[in-house]
């Protein structure tokens, strides 16, 4: 029996879909059977990030309304045998699926897969409620900004009210150089404010833009810092203990300081 994990954030644009694509792919690389479920009905994007947009025939609404069988709607990934996507419908809205239907769907999926990763829409309305309905674990994604952390706090409260205890935090798009200058909140600041356990830190990385352009998750890019962060996060999800990677670039002044023994 697999595990259902929802990726959520409250605020839009902080990287829920990128995170879902990368940890899903990361878990598949490790040999797990994984399905990614896009619950952002009306604004589907996970298919594009995964590079699978041309293969969609049926979607999640077709499945829950009995328009097709679950197997027919699952799209197999280009690269991995055991990685699948259940796309959102693009022409319906969030009310096309109910919480009860989501619970049934995730129940069915976790019998087949080791990990069911749910990409939650932004907001706290029906789409959010649907996305968390069948989940056992939750990952909250935020960026080091006041608005994103504030929304993350609200989401954590709602997850706890829904008895999804102990959500884990991913801080996305961190810029180590700005943190160093004191112009960006650091990890400790956010952990302290949100009182939540950290799952990982993903640095700002141009490789994400390039990988999204191509439809190939950055987790597969061995050169990318963000990719490395997502590989670490995937390992932590399976229970492996991986220390946080060193985000500080070994810059000129750092070396200079070391030279003088500072």
């Amino acid at each position: 029996m697999g595990e259902v994990i929802v990726v959520t954030s409250g605020k839009g644009g902080v990287g829920k879909t990128t995170t879902t694509a990368n940890i899903g792919t990361g878990l598949a690389v490790m040999g797990n059977k994984v399905v990614l479920v896009d619950t952002d009905i009306g604004l589907r994007n996970l298919d594009v990030v995964m590079g699978l947009e041309n293969r969609i025939v049926y979607d999640i609404v077709d499945v829950v309304t009995g328009n097709c069988r679950l197997k027919q709607a699952l799209i197999k990934d280009k690269r991995f045998e055991d990685l699948f996507l259940l796309p959102a419908a693009q022409t319906k809205d969030k009310t096309a699926v109910s919480e009860e239907q989501m619970r049934e769907l995730t129940q069915q999926l976790k019998e087949e897969f080791d990990y069911v990763i749910i990409d939650c829409p932004a907001g706290i309305e029906q789409g959010f409620k649907n996305a968390i309905a069948g989940a056992q674990r939750a990952i909250v994604v935020t960026t080091p900004e006041v608005a994103a952390v504030r929304d993350a706090d609200r989401i954590i409260g709602l997850l706890e009210a829904a008895l999804l205890a102990e959500p884990k935090l991913i801080v996305n798009r961190l810029r180590p150089s700005m943190v160093k200058k004191g112009d960006m909140m650091d990890i400790d600041d956010m952990i302290e404010i949100l009182a939540i356990e950290l799952l990982g830190v993903v640095p700002e990385d141009e490789a994400i833009v390039i990988s999204t352009n191509k439809g190939e998750p950055a987790v597969l890019d061995k050169q990318s810092k963000a990719g490395e962060a997502y590989r670490n996060i995937s390992k932590r999800i399976t229970g492996e203990h991986v220390p946080l990677m060193n985000l500080e670039a070994d810059g000129f002044f750092r070396r200079l300081r070391r030279l003088f023994g500072a």
Binding site: V146, R154, K180, G182, M184, M185, D189, I193, F253, A262
Partner: protein, 98 residues
């Protein structure tokens, strides 16, 4: 210039004017408000219930009654300012006797 070198070498830390401190402080303030949220309607209902219960024991100035949520750092408290006009003697006993 000296300051620039210090900063470049990373010797200068915890600059109180650093924008991250502004961000942290603003975040702390909005979260205190978010977490202590209670709709005005709920607050009004609470006020009416309080008046009803307290009136069994003392005569109070209902117009001067203030009820609010006050938040300090980590904790949130319910603060009531209730001006008393007259204390009823043996209020509860009278009620049970009757």
């Amino acid at each position: 210039m000296f300051e620039f070198i210090q900063r470049a070498l990373g010797l200068k830390k915890d600059d109180p004017t650093a924008s991250k401190n502004t961000a942290k402080e603003r975040l702390r303030l909005v979260l205190v408000q978010d977490r202590a949220s209670m709709s005005p309607a709920t607050l009004e209902a609470l006020k009416e219930d309080l008046i009803r219960v307290i009136s069994e024991y003392m005569e109070i100035d209902q117009t001067g009654l203030e009820v609010s949520l006050s938040s300090e750092d980590e904790s949130v408290a319910l603060v009531c300012n209730i001006p008393i006009l007259k204390l009823k003697r043996n209020a509860k006993e009278q009620e049970t006797a009757s």
